[in-house]
């Protein structure tokens, strides 16, 4: 019997199981997927049962929001500027420059805002969590929590995943707003479009079916980013090299998962809203 991620698991042998005949790379990949799924399962097992670490949850919400606020704002603003500057000449060529606010608005709210923010957060928050928890694992701080009769999974992992899941949609909304502001500046100085006209056009072009899927998928982005960051840190190998590896792989896997979640979100949104 062994305890995995704070819960009791019965170990079993895989001798002569078809699984053992798979190529090592594929086997390792499937094992990793299985471990992440078990980790996620353990999150849902812990999140609904007391004791609830509200104080740590608030602290993590502040950390996640505060840690990413400047970077998300800056990249969002620059993305808005660049998008307008790049698209504007083509739109002029086709005589469709009046559609600029609608087009930029839909592109940012539906896709660019959520995905860009998620990727920035995967780099910033995911790697931070991987490094922080990995370092705590290596220096036995997680073990110290466990032997003091505290559930480190609940204190460290559940709070971080929950905080990132809740905060990412807020960061996305903020990033969307700042991106649109950046785009407006280009339109204002290049096309003499007023603030009222620009944002009226933007909001007229946006529908409920644009906001709901984009906001919903942001929750999932937040969940997978923190899940992978926490998983990699919490299960980090011994040694400082393991901490670096945890931070690095957390970013890579979280970024790939963001795109996969985005793909599925678009497919599902297409079913419900006929995009």
């Amino acid at each position: 019997m062994a305890r995995i991620f704070g819960c009791t698991k019965t170990t079993f042998t895989l001798a002569n199981h078809p699984y053992t005949y798979l190529p090592p790379g594929l086997r390792n990949f499937l094992t990793e997927v299985g471990h992440i799924a078990a980790f996620a399962g353990n999150f849902f097992r812990h999140v609904f049962y007391p004791p609830f670490e509200f104080r740590e949850l608030l602290h993590q919400c502040y950390e996640v929001g505060n840690r990413s606020f400047v970077l998300v704002s800056l990249t969002g603003f620059i993305m808005g500027l660049v998008l307008s500057l790049q698209i504007r000449p083509t739109m002029i060529e086709f005589g469709a420059v009046s559609y600029m606010p609608s087009m930029i608005g839909i592109a940012i709210v539906r896709e660019i805002g959520p995905v860009l923010t998620a990727l920035i957060c995967a780099g910033k928050i995911g790697s931070g969590m991987g490094a922080e928890l990995g370092s705590m694992r290596v220096t036995e701080q997680i073990d110290a929590m466990e032997v003091s009769g505290t559930n480190p999974f609940k204190f460290l992992v559940v709070t971080r995943i929950l905080a990132t899941t809740l905060m990412l949609p807020l960061l996305v909304l903020m990033s969307d707003t700042i991106s649109l502001a950046g785009s407006f500046l280009v339109e204002h100085f290049k096309g003499e479009v007023s603030f009222t006209l620009y944002f009226t056009e933007v909001f007229n072009s946006l529908a409920f079916s644009d906001l709901v899927p984009a906001t919903t998928k942001s929750f999932f982005f937040g969940f997978v980013i923190a899940l992978v960051g926490c998983y990699k840190g919490y299960t980090s190998d011994q040694g400082t090299a393991g901490v670096g590896r945890a931070a690095n792989t957390a970013v890579v896997i979280a970024s790939i998962l963001v795109f996969l979640v985005d793909f599925w979100a678009v497919l599902v949104a297409d079913i419900f809203y006929d995009l």
Partner: protein, 261 residues
């Protein structure tokens, strides 16, 4: 004054081992990591108020053994009973409750480096409010810090402390839940000889004041000589030899003698 050579402050003056039901009872513990069979049927008892020192070569499984006593590792087979409870049959809630009775001092101190010293001591208390005495949390924290001589560090972060201070704060964090048993994983490793002696004296004083039983894993023979009521030599996964420090130093077995040369 070299306190280690002071007969008043050594194991000879430590409380005699009380006879009674063992606090820890281990029989036939086996533990493997892949092909590496670390423990091969280890047996041990720890009695009330006893200081039991376990010595062995690096990689002999000493740390694995004490991790098995708090559920950080689980033996492949064998019996591990702590305070009369079979560790392998406890639910998570029961295990967490039992863990408050067993303090663990980590080799690297394992202080929470994002928290101040006060928060480090608050952390276990807030999760076990039944352990807070009527005097209140803050008084308990300050009193425990005073007992390790570091009350002035209460608002400091671990990064501001020296290695010896970190070890004392870690000990204070262990003591704040008033455990019946304390497990020390190499309490003097990485410390200069003077600080190591101070830690040893602190361990003896705390043991005398709080009447705890202790298991001390160490390579430090000075530490073993001063602290131990009884010494177990762990060789090839079993308790190869056992006795008082003096008995073992006079043991003719070459494997035992290798530790004392």
């Amino acid at each position: 004054m070299n306190t280690l050579n002071d007969p008043v402050a050594t194991a000879s003056s430590a409380p005699p081992v009380a006879v009674g039901a063992p606090l820890i009872h281990i029989r036939g513990v086996h533990k493997s990591f892949g092909d590496n069979h670390v423990l091969k049927g280890f047996d041990m008892d720890l009695f009330p108020q006893e200081n039991l020192v376990i010595i062995g070569k690096s990689g002999s499984g000493k740390s694995v053994l004490i991790k098995c006593l708090v559920g950080l590792e689980y033996p492949d087979e064998g019996v591990v009973e702590i305070l009369g409870k079979n560790l392998l049959k406890l639910s998570q809630i029961e295990l967490d409750e039992l863990r408050t009775e067993v303090g663990f001092l980590f080799q690297g101190s394992a202080l929470y480096d994002s928290m101040t010293v006060r928060e480090n001591l608050q952390f276990p208390l807030r999760r076990h409010p039944n352990r807070i005495l009527p005097e209140g949390e803050e008084t308990m924290i300050l009193r425990t810090l005073e007992s390790v001589g570091l009350a002035h560090t209460v608002n400091m972060k671990p990064s501001e402390l020296s290695g010896g201070m970190k070890r004392r704060i870690a000990l204070a964090r262990t003591l704040i839940l008033q455990p019946k048993i304390i497990l020390y994983d190499e309490p003097t490793s990485g410390l200069d000889p003077i600080t190591a002696k101070e830690i040893i004296q602190l361990i003896l004083r705390i043991q005398a004041e709080q009447q705890t039983a202790s298991i001390i894993i160490t390579h430090d023979l000075d530490c073993a000589r001063v602290i131990a009521n009884r010494v177990i030599i762990l060789v090839e996964g079993i308790n190869y030899a056992e006795g008082t420090y003096q008995q073992l130093t006079s043991n003719r077995d070459p494997k035992v003698q290798a530790f004392f040369k």
